[in-house]
């Protein structure tokens, strides 16, 4: 491995996100010892040293007096650490080298409080062992999707016009930011692996290795999205059949070469048989056949393959009401439970559709007790305002991770997924140790021990990283939730504010909470109502178009007519999707009387006069929420004006500009939705507000 120097402070033109130099003041003004050796300990030492240079502290040699000691527990390994006071000294004792890094950033996060006499002893370890950000970055600019698919922050930080960027400074800065948020892996190319990108796996592996070296000092491992047809495209084989011996050998040899070049390579990510991508169905094989082939190639290296469950018929006939896209992943994958190798991770979008503003939890996540699972979130705001709208997503993610699949007192989804397969210790197979691949040694870092949380990244080469400066908070939060899924969204936001705006006055803190705490709910208010989803412009997915997908092959319908709206997914009269859930949810979702309001139209087709638990009718709820949502955005504009002078002018200006667009867009949503439903229902707004 090539040692890479710890990066200097980002260029002043690039916003420092949640690691401005000032956030290191409490740390950097102390005497600090790092009682450990090795590459990650070197990174920690360099961080400490830089902070001390800035704020007058000192890096102490082993044995010397210190205010903070960072040390390793030789009996343990992994990402966890203990933090506490030993007399007048604050101590971080890490399970492994990576824990040293996470402990350091915990001290940064706490600031002066980390050195307070009253600091309570605390142990932290991540709920999810693999915490990975997937970049949908293309190497070559895609004719339709551009450099970054569903990217709203400029170009890729890795790739530019067909090649690796010459200057990877930002990649190093990015690794540092991610480590400080708790992330430990990154996938550097789009899951839609186009012909050019397929070559990253072989003849362009050198470029990949360069990125891996840049990420490595911060404990970030590199994953690669691969093309299932690679043996045909790259290997000149006549088939990519996963049961063909030549194909299996090709993957095995190719994977060996990947690990020769990148010894700590993280693993593969695969989108197969989905939206036009090739996959095992082409050869009459199952997804277990496909995933297991790749797992077998990776197993000798202790690495996993993440196999996406996002498989559905995107050539649906809207006239056929029996097909239900929401059912597709469960229909495809649930029967395969128990057939996957232990180093296969089935990566499942958090909802059954596609990252809508509101969806129920995917039943696949509740149906596969014998399969390693990854919960996939979307940080990039494809359907949630595309980083032109403020939309702080942790409240949504908390709802997903804290969902109780089998009843309010049973374990949460996060607890189930992070615990891993129920019977994994007793099963055997290639690449599996008696205690599972995830236990012990080098492999433990890479594979699915403790479950997997993945998220589609939202950064680009924009000076603010995320286009909308406030969208940085979503990126920060995903790592924090991967450590502690039950951490309150408002508390994470508070952390982010403290780090990003050191010494923020209370007024700024109030403004930011006012803008962001409820911004997901606000966004939901002025967009598609009551869980029905979509209603966006086809293609780019921004702005309203109620019928945009209504008569298309994509399987995303609302069935609004003059009498009512919603999708009947009940067992009694609908598509039967509700039966994919365990009790009690199968029953709760089945009946309008027990179905939560916010998901009513996802599960039921109801008359406009249907009365919600809230007491309002569906139609009046549509009017009320759309007027309220747009009104809230207007108030956000006013609140943000109060922050003028409290943040850097460039940041203030950027947010101001985005809020103007958010307001325009929210009013467009309000008016289109209200007009659409007024024209259909004929029912006037009870409050007589203007509907066009």
């Amino acid at each position: 491995m090539i040692p890479v120097a710890v990066n200097s402070t980002p260029s002043p033109a690039i916003h420092p996100a949640w690691l401005p130099p000032e956030s290191f003041r409490a740390l950097g003004s102390r005497r600090i010892r790092v009682d450990a050796t090795g590459p990650l300990a070197d990174t920690v030492r360099a961080e400490v040293s830089r902070a001390c240079d800035l704020f007058g502290g000192t890096v102490q040699p082993t044995g010397a007096p210190a205010d903070l000691i960072l040390a390793l527990d030789p009996g343990r390994s992994g990402d966890g650490f203990r933090l506490g006071r030993r007399g007048a000294v604050t101590v971080v004792v890490a399970d492994g080298a990576s824990g040293l890094l996470y402990g350091l950033f915990e001290v940064v996060r706490r600031g002066e409080a980390a050195f307070d006499q009253t600091l309570a002893d605390e142990r932290q370890e991540p709920a999810f062992g693999l915490r990975v950000l997937d970049h949908w970055d293309n190497v070559f600019v895609h004719r339709v999707m551009g450099q970054v698919e569903r990217g709203y922050s400029g170009g890729s930080i890795f790739w530019q016009d067909g090649r690796l960027r010459d200057d990877l400074t930002r990649v190093g800065d990015y690794a540092r930011l991610l480590a400080a948020s708790g992330i430990n892996a990154v996938t550097v190319n789009n899951v839609n692996v186009h012909a050019g990108e397929t070559h990253l796996l072989t003849d362009r592996l050198g470029e990949v290795a360069t990125i891996a070296s840049t990420l490595r000092p911060y404990g970030i491992r590199l994953h690669l999205s691969i093309n299932f047809a690679a043996p045909v495209i790259l290997g000149d084989l006549p088939t990519a059949d996963p049961l063909d011996p030549d194909v299996r050998r090709w993957w095995s040899d190719t994977t060996d070469r990947v690990f020769e070049t990148i010894p700590d390579f993280g693993g593969y990510l695969v989108k197969a048989d989905s939206e036009g991508q090739p996959g095992p169905f082409s050869y009459g094989r199952t997804h277990a056949d496909g995933a297991n082939m790749l797992a077998d190639a990776l197993a000798p290296h202790g690495a996993p393959v993440r196999w996406r469950a996002f498989v559905y018929n995107h050539r649906q006939d809207w006239r056929d009401r029996s097909t239900d896209r929401a059912r597709a992943a469960h229909d495809h994958f649930a029967p395969l439970d128990g057939q996957f190798r232990d180093n296969v991770i089935l990566q499942v979008k958090h909802g059954p559709m596609d990252f809508q503003t509101r969806e129920p939890v995917s039943p696949v996540l509740l149906a596969m007790p014998n399969t390693r699972l990854a919960v996939e979130l979307q940080v990039t705001q494809e359907y949630t305002g595309q980083q032109r709208h403020v939309c702080y997503l942790p409240p949504m993610w908390s709802g997903v991770l804290g969902f109780h699949p089998t009843g309010d007192d049973a374990p949460t989804l996060a607890e189930r997924v992070s615990a891993g397969p129920a019977g994994s210790a007793s099963r055997s197979g290639p690449g599996r140790s008696p205690a599972g691949v995830g236990t012990g040694g080098r492999a433990s870092v890479r594979t699915a021990a403790g479950g997997v949380l993945s998220a589609v990244a939202n950064v680009g080469d924009d000076p603010f990283w995320t286009g909308h400066p406030l969208a940085q908070a979503n990126l920060y939060a995903v790592g924090r939730l991967a450590w502690t899924p039950d951490r309150a969204p408002a508390a994470i936001l508070d952390e982010w504010i403290t780090l990003t705006f050191p010494a923020a006055p209370a007024a700024l803190r109030h403004v930011l909470h006012a803008l962001m705490d409820d911004s997901w709910e606000t966004y939901e208010q002025y967009t598609a109502p009551l869980g029905v989803g979509f209603m966006v412009r086809p293609g780019h997915h921004y702005g309203p178009d109620v019928d945009g997908y209504e008569y298309t092959p994509w399987g995303t319908y609302h069935f609004a007519d003059r009498d009512g709206v919603g999708v009947d997914r009940t067992a009694a009269t609908g598509t039967g999707f509700t039966t994919q859930y365990p009790v009690p949810w199968s029953e709760r979702f089945e009946h309008p009387g027990t179905c939560p309001d916010e998901l009513l139209l996802f599960f039921h087709h109801v008359p406009y006069a249907h009365v919600l638990h809230s007491g309002s009718t569906v139609i009046q709820h549509i009017y009320d929420t759309h007027f309220a949502g747009a009104q809230r955005v207007a108030e956000m504009q006013s609140r943000w004006a109060e922050a003028d002078g409290l943040v850097a002018p460039a940041l203030h200006a950027r947010v101001t500009e985005r809020l103007a667009e958010q307001r325009r867009s929210a009013e467009e949503w309000r008016d289109q939705l209200n007009t659409y439903f007024h024209r259909k229902s004929g029912i006037p707004d009870a409050k007589g507000r203007p509907i066009h």
Copy 2:
């Protein structure tokens, strides 16, 4: 001028369209004299010679006995000719050299009948003096629009990837086809003149001259679309203000250089202040100011500028019902009547919107008695099936040209436009002779004497020229209607069949008439109903999307709600568009009781239960026509199967493939439209047919 050899027969890979060698048999087996000299006479002689080589006839010297004599009337000029028998000899006496060419092709068209003893004497001359096809071809492939904007026949025959094609054989073949149909001018670049294409006017004029040389042997003059901002882009001037002396000088000098290079250059075409194109509004000037500036630059050369009237606000707010795109051209241009130079031709789309399947005639064409006008038709099937659907357009065009603006006994639109401005002989101004620019000498060919018919071309580098082989008939027909606007569409189709399929058996003729005669009506049946227009997918404009443009800035709405549908354009309660028409149409359109059924929803918002003149309700009409239209397409498929073996296999296969897509698309239109209106109205189909 560089003499260019008459092109040989098109390459076998390219379909010969309506000039297969066989169509020359009657001519080519006779003794023929061409009693004239000059370039066009040379073309005629070469055509005759080639036909005789094929079929055993002879080209006779002056004075020798002949079966056909083509000669010039020294006392006349222009495109007209007389055809008749003088004893045993068929004689063409042409007004001018171009008439010789048109007379020759008339003899070809008649075949053996041209040599029949009973041939009656006849004089032919074109109703429209300028008969021009406008190509929306880009030199550089446009990111969104491709090589040809709204092109459905492959690439441009002129341009490829930023440059003039090396091989212009097809351009020569194209000129020959156009001459045989009666066309006499071609515009070789898109009216949306992008930055690269702007240079055709100056430093890339050599390429334009090469095309002009290739068109010239068949009497086709070249026109160029120009960029109003050219003085800024090309001339380094700080402004393109049409009243600025430097700008005027730049246009004058530039135009002089164009004519130095291309002495018979045809004129300019301009789309200004429309859909993002620059124009005089940027400088606070009127469209008369803009057009007159260019007219003044062209006047010394006796050439016209065609100025498009397609100006409207494409940033409309759908919430503002007072704005009406249909009004825009009249609102902008009618007040300018009388302010344009005589060599300005205001080019007006035939309807007030944008080449929809059914529109009323544009009121601009009825409102400007003191302005030279061009009627603009669209041969390329942007909104009429994109050359995947059979849609024979002459029935629509005949309706436009034969429209009686001021009453059923008054002159037709074609008669009015072809007569030119009422008082032009008594007016004076730059570039105007006492009898008008259009009279006498070289200028008569180029300018607007006899009015102007223009049409957006539909050809590309496809082997069949037009993608759909049957779309050739539209291209053929536009020239024929420009000569004789009252020629029956079925008769033109019959001519086209005779030429294109020489010796076609009656069975083939019947099949082609069955497919094509009513195909426009069929297309209308399964698409947007009763003149309301659009309902297409935004952007590419193919296939149904009822609400696709409903909430957009483009000004193309239908206002369907649960009670009714249509746009109220009345004076009494609507946008007042009806007042732009003269009596009796202003009154007829104003009242649902007198408004023609086929335009009802263009002018009126009516309840679904409104009873049409046909006796059906609006909603039942929608259901009935959509079921009928799709059914007709299924029948077209069956009929075409009968033509197997009667046409070349490649042509049969191409039409078969297109009909399959037309059927799929027609059924999609049927089902989306029926479902949409059933969901809105709640009224069941009286015949109980399946609505999804």
